[in-house]
Every structure is written in structure tokens, then in C-alpha cells.
Subunit: 202 residues, 2 copies
Amino acid sequence: MMIQDSKQRPRRTNNPQAMRAQILDVAADLFQRQGYNATSIQDVVREAATTGGALHHHFATKKALGLAVIAERVAPEVDETAVQPVATASSAAVGIRKVFNGVADTLERKRAVSGCPLNNLALELSLADPDFREAVNGVFDRWRSALSLRLHADRPEMDLSRAHDLATLIVASYSGAMAMAKASQSAEPLRACAVQLEQVLS
Amino acid sequence: MMIQDSKQRPRRTNNPQAMRAQILDVAADLFQRQGYNATSIQDVVREAATTGGALHHHFATKKALGLAVIAERVAPEVDETAVQPVATASSAAVGIRKVFNGVADTLERKRAVSGCPLNNLALELSLADPDFREAVNGVFDRWRSALSLRLHADRPEMDLSRAHDLATLIVASYSGAMAMAKASQSAEPLRACAVQLEQVLS
DNA sequence: TTATAAAAAGACCGGTTGTCCTGTTTTGTC
DNA sequence: GACAAAACAGGACAACCGGTCTTTTTATAA
């Protein structure tokens, strides 16, 4: 029989920020791939290689974890992949084409098309809980507003309500194209929408 | 103590078609309002005022129930509210406007915007199960094909790939507008897209 | 009337869910 | 170095999940 050194029990290094970030990363990934309801807390615990106690310390409830994922992972990702490229491109039309085709490229590099994280959570949770709905709606709104502003900056002659409606169409077609891409497991809907939107904006 | 007539126990009338239809109706409603995973089969049993045994007799598993809901409730509903109006309208543009604004009217009459049933199930189940994905994708595809055909019939000079891409944009913007409508609990995104799409089609 | 199968009822099972609770270890502060 | 608070471990818990099972009731056709 082996003699175990009882003092050499598994060491623990307290690193709350890294632990919290790790949990958020894993949860964001699982929520996107499986959905919120289909992902159990234990799934997150297992994949994050932590314990229930640690998770509960950082996020008291599953809902709190979900809201944090939206605010600290989904919203920044939307901003990074969709809002900023349009803001920094030479024109709104160019930026939008880059976003659509860029996302399509990314999807084709991956095995599975798991869709837009915002869209996924939006449809699953908007009706379930007002807090979720507000969080999701805020992300949609910031995106739409940024687009609307850019469109108006490009063409000052276009009135604001027209720019707002056009921004809505662009966000909606992106969101819908991602839904179709997920259902067909193909990036083709995104490419098709990119081509047509470019005609609209020219 | 009352003497109960044991022979007068709750009567049961076998009506398999009605029972099956009732279960499908309730399941379709609950799946749309709460989502597939958030709805337990007991929820369906309770709301349909039936029993677990009866439900299991008609649908062996929850997945079978889900597939039946898509094939026998969601698909016909999409056909009725989105495909046929476009097919019978005087022009594709008119039909599309009628669909968008008609759905917007309906949403505003209701209390809550629970979104497009196809979209809801598509995002929740496409990745979870290949059978679900295929069922959902089929509905999307029939809708897109019908639109594409109508666009080409309206304007024979438009080549087929352009018609297909345009149909994709229309379906995507509908789907996405419904997602935004659900998140914002407002029909406004649908109206905005209707206006912009009409400009595209004119 | 009787035979037979379909339809429906309702209890039951193992497994899993999200949450909470009680300890133990680490960290920061005086 | 003492001590309080934070960070983490790990299990307890009741409630519920989807699915199976057996039994009873109903409809139908010979």
C-alpha cells in the first residue's frame, strides 16, 4: 500500500479573475453550441475543470451566469465582429460586405455553423425572462444605432428615418441569414445577402 | 360520507384524431412560447388535459412530438402566412409587403411577440439533432424556392441566381426582423424591413 | 354477444436538474 | 503572526426530467 503524503493534497491557486473568465468562456461556448436550456451547470463545471462551489461563488444562479455571458462575452463579440468593422471601413457598404463575407469565411473554416450567439440567446430567452430580453435588446439596439449613424454619415442627404430603417434591414438580414446558415449548415445565405445588400446600398 | 357511484366514473371518449390534434396544438403553442427544451412533456400533458399514457401512445418520444409539430403545424403555418400570400398576390412586391405588414398587424393585436415558430425551433434544435435540422431546413428551403420562382415569374429578365439571392434576402430579413421584434417586443422592425424591401423590389 | 386490438390511464423508474450548505484553504490587512 | 474575508471544494437535497410499464377502458367487426 502506498503512503500518501496528506500534506501534498491538490494545491489550489486562488485566481478569481482567471476563474471567472474561464467559466464565462466555457459558458459562452456551450450556450452557443447547445443553447442555454440544453446546457446544465454541471456541463459548465466539467468543461471549465472547476467545481460547483467555485461556480456558485462567482455566479449565484444560472440566470446570473447567462446575463454575465451576454454582457461580457456576447455583446463585445458583436461589437468586435459587426459594429467596429463597419465603423472603420471606407464606406458603410464596404464595411457591411466585409462583415458578411468575413463571417461567411469564418463559418466555412469551422466544422459546424453554430449561428450568431446573440441570435441564439435572443430567441431562446427573450420571452422567458424580462432581464434577458432587455440585455439582448440592448445589444441589438446598439448595433442598429451604430449602423444607422454610419449610413447617415456616408450620405447626409438620406434622412434619419430612412437610415434607421435601412440599418434595421441590414441587422435583420444578418440575423436571419445566420439562422438560415445554421439550418442549412452553409454560409451561402450570408453570401447571397451580402450581394443583394450591396446593390441596395449602391 | 358521500356514496359515489363507481360506475359513473369519468367517462372517456376515444377520439384518437382529436386527441392527437389537441396534443399537437398545445405542443406547438408551448414550444413557440417557451421553447422546446424549456417545455416538458408534462407541461403538454397538463395543458392538453390528457395523461402521459395518452401522449406516449401517440408520440413515443419528445423528439417524435417535436418533429410532428414541425411537419404538421409549423410548416403549414409558414406556408399559409408567408408562401401563399406571395403566390396569389398581384406581384411579388405587393405580396411581400402584405406578408410583413400583415404579420406586424397580428403581432400588435396580441399581448406578446413570441416570434416566428420556425425561427424559434430552427435556432434551438438545428445543431442538437440532424433530424430536426433537416426538417427545419426543408421548410426554409420551400419558402425560399417559392419566393424565388415568383420573383422570376414577375420579371423574366432577372436571372435565376439573382432571384434566388433576392429570395434569400427576403426570407432572411423576415426571419431576422422577427427575432428583433421578439427581443424588442415590437412590430417595428417588420415595418422597417417592409418599407426597405419594397424599395429594393421596385 | 364476443373477440380483438387500439386508445387511454396512471403509476413507476433511474437519472439529472439547479440550488444551497457546510467546511477548508488561500489571501490581504493591521 | 493573528484574523477576517474572500475563494474554492464537494456533497446534500428536493424537484423534476423523459421514458417505460402494466392495467383498464373503448371501439369495431365478426
